[in-house]
Structure formats: C-alpha cells, structure tokens
Amino acid sequence: MTPEPSESEISARLIAFIRERFLDGDAAGELDETSPLLEWGVINSLNSVILLSFISEEFGTPYLLENIDATTFKSVRNITMMLSDGNQRSRR
C-alpha cells in the first residue's frame, strides 16, 4: 500500500497543478500556500471543477463532497487541510 502523501507534498502538488493549469506556469513564482485563490480570481466556479477532478485523480477522492464549498478553495492551505482531514477520516 502506498503511503499517504504528507501535507507538504499535497500542497506542493496542488501548487504545481494550479501554476501549470491556470497561471501559465507562474514564472514569477508568486503563488504560495496562502495566496487567496478566490479573491485573486485564480479559482472560479468554472475551473474549480477542473481542480476537483485533478484532486480526485491525484489523491483518490479522499475528499468529502459535502465538505466542499468556497471556504475550501480560499487557499492551497485550506484545500490541503480538507484533504488531510479526509485521509484521517478514511483511516479510522
């Protein structure tokens, strides 16, 4: 069984995906864990679906659909927290 990714790994993979998919690489490297994704218009109601399908493929859907709303997408840190909560719950 593959070990579950650590929080820092989850964050790094999310940041890499968002940079590549929504920010054309973000060459200036401005995106970090705490960047307000909704406020800055990085994530919107359309591409949040793309991000969710990435999460589902990448992390095997540990997230719980009923836990997802705008708060989840506020920052990479919030998404990471939701995912690691999901991991802990599925282990129980």
Partner: protein, 498 residues
C-alpha cells in the same frame, strides 16, 4: 405599501411563519420585524434618517436582511455589497453615494480605511446587543413610492461602477407582477441564488415577503459546489427557483441534478440574465413538470418582459424568446433611425413604465423611456427574441460587466503598456480574456495582474485568462481589432512572461 411594510404586514398576519431560512439559522416574521426595528433604532442613533444611504457590506445572511429592513424603516436607502466586494470598491461606493453609515461584520470592519471612516460612521455588526432588545417603539417611516429604496452598483464602461437607483414603486411594480404571475402563497419556499448585489435577488426576497412566504438563502460558497447546490433544492423543499442559466447548467453538468427525480415541491423555475441554450432547457423540461419562465430586464428596468417556455420552444434551435411585456411595462423596438423594425429586421429594445429606475446616482434623473442597448427581433406573435448587444457590456456566466472597467483596472498596473479585454465562448463556457502588452523590463506575471485587479474588482470581473502579446492587432484605421484577438486565442499564440 413600501418594501419594509411588506414585512411588517406579514409579521402582523403570521409572526410564527418562517421568513428567511439559513445560512446561520431560520428567522421568523415576528423575529425579523422585531430585530429590524431594534437595529433601526441603533442606526437612528448614528444619525440615519429619511433620504440617507447606508452601505451594507456583508455576506448573504439573515443578518443582512435585517439590516436592509432596518434601513428602509428609517426612510433611508440601502446599498448592498457582498463579502467578496473588495475594500477599494466598497470605499468607492460609499463615497460615491455619500453613505452616512457603513455596516460590516468585525472581520470586514477592520479593513475600512481611515479616509472612509472620516466620511461615514462605521457600525460593527458583530456587536449584536440590539438583537435582545424588546419590541420598542415601532419604526415605520412612511415613504412615497417614488422615494429611493436601494442602489445597486453595476459595472461602468468608464472604469468606475455606477449606482442604479431603484425606488419602492419601481421594485413593487415587478414584485407585484411576480407574486400574481406565480401565485406566490404563504407556504411557498423561494430559493435565493443571486447575491444581494444583483437585481435577481430582489424578486426572491420581496416576492416572498409580499406573500408571507419563506426565502431560502443559497450561501455564496455553494457556487463552488454544484452537487450541494442541486441538493439544496431537495433539502429546502424549494417551490420557486430563480437564477442565471449558468447556475442551472452547472447543477445539471457537474452537480448530477438530473440523476435524481425533481423535488415534488418545485413548481416554477425562473431564469434570467443571459441566453439559456435550448438543449439545457429541454433537459430541464424532461426532468420537471414545473413551469419554466424566461425573465428579462437589465438592472435599470427590472423585470420588464417574460416568456413561459412552451413545447414549441423546445423544438427551436435557439434560446427561448424573452417574450412579452411584464410588470406593467411598455416595451418596443427601434432601429437606429427611430423607426420600428419589420420582418427579420432587428432593433434596440426600449422600456418605459413603472419599473424603470429613478436614474444613476449622481446623474440626471431617468425621465421617460430607457434604451436598453439590447438588440431584439419582433416575432410574429408579438414577443421578442434576444439577438445581442452593440456595445461592450457583456455577460460572463450570468454576471454583467463592462469590458472598459476591466481594461481600466489592468491598465492601472505599472507594467501594462496596452491592454484589451474580450469574451470568448457563450453561456457557461464564456470566458473573460485579457491581452496585455508589457512595458519594457516588466517582470509581472499572470498572478500579479490578477492580484492587481482584485484590489478594485469583484472576483467575477477578474480575467479568466491573461495573454501577454507583443502588440495588439489593429484595423487599418488604428482601432483595436477585437476579432483578430479571438484568432490569437484560437492559434494559442501566447508569450508567457519571462
């Protein structure tokens, strides 16, 4: 009867009936009446009186409705801003309309600048001591129907938002129409999907209050959770749903709305704000036997035409018509030469009547008919088909915005030499695209520009995609060639910032 008296009357009829359902609990008419009265007294203590404006900067919630009602009871007008409205935009709105008080919860309250504090009193809504006050003296200022009830700020082509001023009478004209047309009853549960900053929300709130029905608030966060949005319809036993088509499409496409039988409670689905591709309307019609109504009207005129979808519409290859006059409006089309269009000709839709706004805040009053800028075709049965627009006011997934305002925000970035903004795609697939020619030695990337926009623009006005180009395509006359910009996207010729 004015907008606040609808609540006072409903509370007198049945104080125990639910007026507002979540987020953050239910509010019964008796409680709404008492709390609005108590907050009105607090606002009066801050000097709010007839003719004043009060800005309410707050996420959609029962508390926001209490605040709106409190302001109206004093004979003042409210100016709604949502929690996602940037502080810079709120400050502009407050200064522009000369707000006497800005109401905000603590978390937003702390962002209010010293400059704004010197112009307006700021009321921290986290202090709720007034909620426990007794009935107190009723505050119920009698207003004339032509008096200002609220101001909705919409995107402005010159780079700053403009305030659409709506009177109690303007609002009542289309609310009364809606209550009658839909037969809204005390047992009804109306969904409120639109933010309070958008005119669609006015119908949800006040049609419910006029009938003593419940309005069920969809929290702003659910826009990112189509599955939960679809679930909301069932859980809240919604009988009347009203939203932009994009929201319904998202629920069908990403939220598995159609996988489950339609809730039995649902009896009307209303949509407005953008053309609804007919294939999705067909799916809705297969799913529910509820009435499907296409409503039309810019913020400036409120709902002025409507059309109930018929089986024949579903056979069309284009969206349902926007229909015939509603709300006592007079509606007609004119060609640029002032004559009526005939046959397949198109013309601009013009509206006159009780729903037409008082005017833009700070501008001359709107006397007489309002020219919508929307191009329509008159159908053989006397109804109108929406064709498009002849200017740069666009709809992006149901949100109305002026391309000029987005361009102004981008242009104010120190690294931008030239900018152009266009839309690509239609309906839910519509995207806002920005093209930027950078100054020499510029080093800003996409995120820097998005972040810069977020200072003055709400999230829905921030470009979805930003392309850095070496020059903007121009026509032989030197005008921006927007069609050529679309080619740039299609060819994917983009030069990332490096």
């Amino acid at each position: 009867m004015s907008l606040h008296q609808l609540v006072i009357a409903a509370a007198a009829r049945d104080p125990g009936a639910v007026a507002v359902a979540g987020p953050g609990g239910e509010l019964r008419y008796g409680d709404l009446d008492r709390q609005a009265n108590a907050l009105a007294q607090v606002l009066a203590g801050h000097g709010v009186g007839p003719g004043d404006r009060v800005l309410i900067w707050l996420d959609k919630s029962p508390l926001a409705i209490i605040a709106m009602q409190a302001v109206l009871r004093l004979g003042a007008a409210y100016v709604p801003a949502s929690g996602t409205t940037p502080v810079g935009r709120v400050a502009f709105m407050a200064r522009d309309c000369g707000a006497r008080v800005v109401c905000a919860p603590g978390v937003l309250h702390s962002l209010i600048s010293a400059e704004l504090r010197s112009d307006a009193r700021c009321l921290n809504l986290d202090d709720r001591s007034w909620q426990h006050e007794g009935p107190g003296t009723p505050v119920n200022h009698l207003v004339q129907s032509a008096e200002l009830a609220y101001i909705l700020y919409t995107s402005g082509s010159t780079g700053t938002p403009k305030g659409v001023c709506i009177s109690h009478g303007n609002a009542r004209a289309f609310i009364d129409w809606a209550v009658h047309e839909l037969g809204v009853q005390p047992g009804d549960r109306l969904a409120n999907h639109a933010p309070f900053t958008f005119d669609l929300s006015v119908l949800d709130l006040y049609a419910a209050f006029a009938a003593g029905a419940a309005v069920c608030l969809v929290s702003a966060g659910l826009a990112y959770a189509p599955g939960r949005l679809a679930d909301f319809l069932h859980r809240q036993r919604i009988s009347i749903w009203y939203s932009v088509p994009s929201a319904l499409i998202m629920m069908m496409r990403d939220g598995r709305l159609l996988d489950r039988a339609a809730p039995e409670s649902l009896r009307a689905v209303l949509f407005a704000g953008e053309p609804f591709p007919i294939r999705y309307v067909r799916s809705l019609a297969d799913w529910t036997s509820a009435r499907l109504l296409n409503l039309y009207g810019p913020t400036e005129t409120n709902v002025c035409t409507f059309h109930e979808v018929t089986p024949a519409d579903l056979e069309r290859d284009r969206p349902a018509p926007i229909g015939r006059p509603a709300s006592g409006s007079k509606v007609w089309a004119e060609k640029p030469d002032g004559r009526a269009p005939h046959g397949d000709d198109t013309g601009e839709l013009i509206v006159d009547g009780p729903t037409v706004m008082l005017g833009y805040w700070g501008s001359a009053p709107q006397l007489g008919p309002y020219r919508t800028g929307d191009i329509v075709r008159l159908l053989a049965d006397g109804s109108f088909d929406y064709v498009g627009r002849d200017d740069y006011l666009v709809k992006v997934r149901g949100h109305r915005l002026e391309l000029g305002e987005v361009e102004a925000a981008l242009s104010s970035h120190h690294d931008a030499a030239e900018v152009a903004v266009i839309t690509s795609g239609e309906g839910i697939d519509c995207r806002l695209l920005a093209f930027i020619v950078l100054r020499a030695e510029a080093n800003s990337g996409i995120l820097a520009f998005k972040r810069h926009c977020s200072v003055s623009l709400p999230p829905y006005m921030i470009p979805d995609e930003i392309f850095f180009v070496t020059k903007l395509p121009r026509t032989v006359n030197g005008k921006l060639d927007r069609a050529a910009l679309i080619d740039v996207v299609q060819l994917s010729v983009k030069e990332p910032a490096s």
